[in-house]
Amino acid sequence: MSYDRFKTALICVLLICVLAVPVSAQGDVIKIGLISSLTGAVSTYGQSVRNAVTMAVDDINAAGGINGRQINLVILDDKGDGTEAAQAARRLIDRENVALILGPVITPCVMAVAPIAQAAKVPMLTPTGTGDEITSIGDYIFRGAYKDSFQGRIMAQFAAVNLGLTEAAIIYDVANDYSVGLRNAFKATFEELGGKIVAEESYSTGDTDFSAQLTALAMRNPQALFIPDYYSTAGPILMQARLMGMDAIMLGVDGWDSPDLSALAGGFEEGGYIVNHYSADVDSPVTQEFIARYTAAYGQAPDALAALGYDGALIVAKALEAAGSTEPEALKQALGTVKGIDGVTGTINMDPEGTPIKSAVILQSTGGKWELVDQVDPSGR
């Protein structure tokens, strides 16, 4: 091909691209962006969320869409990394012109995306982000999960009151807002209830060797060890702690909920307790139907991330319906006021601050399964 012909061809291709954009932006669809951690250190979270959101969107579209408009879902991977998440957000806002962003999944990614969405006035709802500060970034930022201060408090109450513990130790990631927030909440409540934090150790994201910290913790012989982190780190910590001979009761958080935890922990999560968003044992028809359909579609039982992903899509759908348009201001108003959504994780009532009023559950790992131990209502008991 001569240079000139190459140039003409190139111009044609570019023209087609330029012309194609407005065509896809028009049409009677609502474009929603989903940022999820499909690969990386927390990949099982992202895959669960993507599976569940896709399922919810397919359901909505099959039922005729929202006010007659179909939803078009654009899915991007953030690899569990804040920088990647911010790039994905820019692309969704600048190039894809989405009406709303669903996601990201983990708090550090949410914290990277929220300021961008707020500045662009694109409403955003993270179905799973629990960091307390998320919703204080702005009035366009919403979430579908409870906050870490709530979660940490529930676990501390359970440890102090239900298990009757008086001494606990903590090992947490100083470089992750999620882990630090949970540690603060747990510590405050546990001490308030008369308990004592006998030892505390920290590490940084990406560390693999915890033997020094765990040896120091084991010296104090704590009754319980609180490990507020994601499964990919909590797993190896659990294994290393047990191999060091620590026999403390292991206390965890929603981050532990992953099909990969058991393999990473070498099975040593057995007997441990976690706070979570939902339990498969809850006898609600919505929950049971979701579990059956998700299992049939993806070949594995849904975890809490999947449940939250599905509910997140429901909240968004309900808000879009109530707003009657994709106009950001109206959509923002609707997101803060939708009530009575019959979700997989319970009845969801959104609060103008951006966080739903929801209950939590305490689960225990028994024979390789998470069994329901206790249910806690939104007031905290």
Binding site: G40, S204, G206, A212, T215, S232
Partner: protein, 295 residues
Amino acid sequence: MSWHIAALQQLVNGLALGSVYALIALGYTMVYGIIKLINFAHGEIYMLGAYFGFYALTLLNLSLLPAMLLSMAAAALVGVLLERVAYRPLRNSPRISVLITAIGASLLFQSTAQLVFGASFKPFPQAMPFRRIQLGPVFITNRQLLIFGVAVLLMILLHVLVTYTKFGKAMRAVARDKEAALLMGINVDRIISATFALGSALAATAGILVGMYYNRIDPYMGMMPGLKAFVAAVLGGIGMVPGAVLGGLLMGVAENLVVTLGSSTLRDAVAFAVLIVVLLFRPTGLLGKKGIEKV
């Protein structure tokens, strides 16, 4: 547990971690000794070794020892190919060009591994039961013992190889003076290839041991240990086998000490502070003397 028992326990933990650094550092130091190149892709060979072991254990269903040998062989092959493709054409170029190529190779391996193996953290198959062995007041887990044992065994084998065999003699000759070695009829290319193969096999062993110890592998696992092993090699005196071992063990113990006494956030900072201090006050490393026999 009283504090001195705890200190002893931390020493055991540090030595296990240090053995890993030592195994990786040996590869750095051998390659440096022979062609004066800091092979920054060495940490990635360690990562690849862990993945080769992972697939040998899961896909091929091998038991630990054959899986380890297979992974060592595969990593050795990668090491030889790396030298052949990326470093040999640049052998007479300025050292900085080769160094930049090494960093490029490192990034290439990371990204390719992410593409091929996936970016998710993989749990490592636990090919042996969990056990703790009580040694007086302290204990050692069977994984720590394995790391320590394998590391010591391989270091002794390497020492014997370098000191008492004809091949070792050839290696030392090439390290001392490439041209003279060539004139004496030594096949320099083959010796350099063999050095890469040996260093890579040691790194692969470290990869598998670490995979089992920490029960988690990912495509970026080679970055930090690779850099720290490099510091260990410099600390001990780069180019010298005993130096790499000493440097590795010291780094492992120092890191555990920092985490115990200070803060875990300083862990990586201390490793690199060591590098700066060594380069400032004793650039030849702890065991380094001018004119010492190098490998």
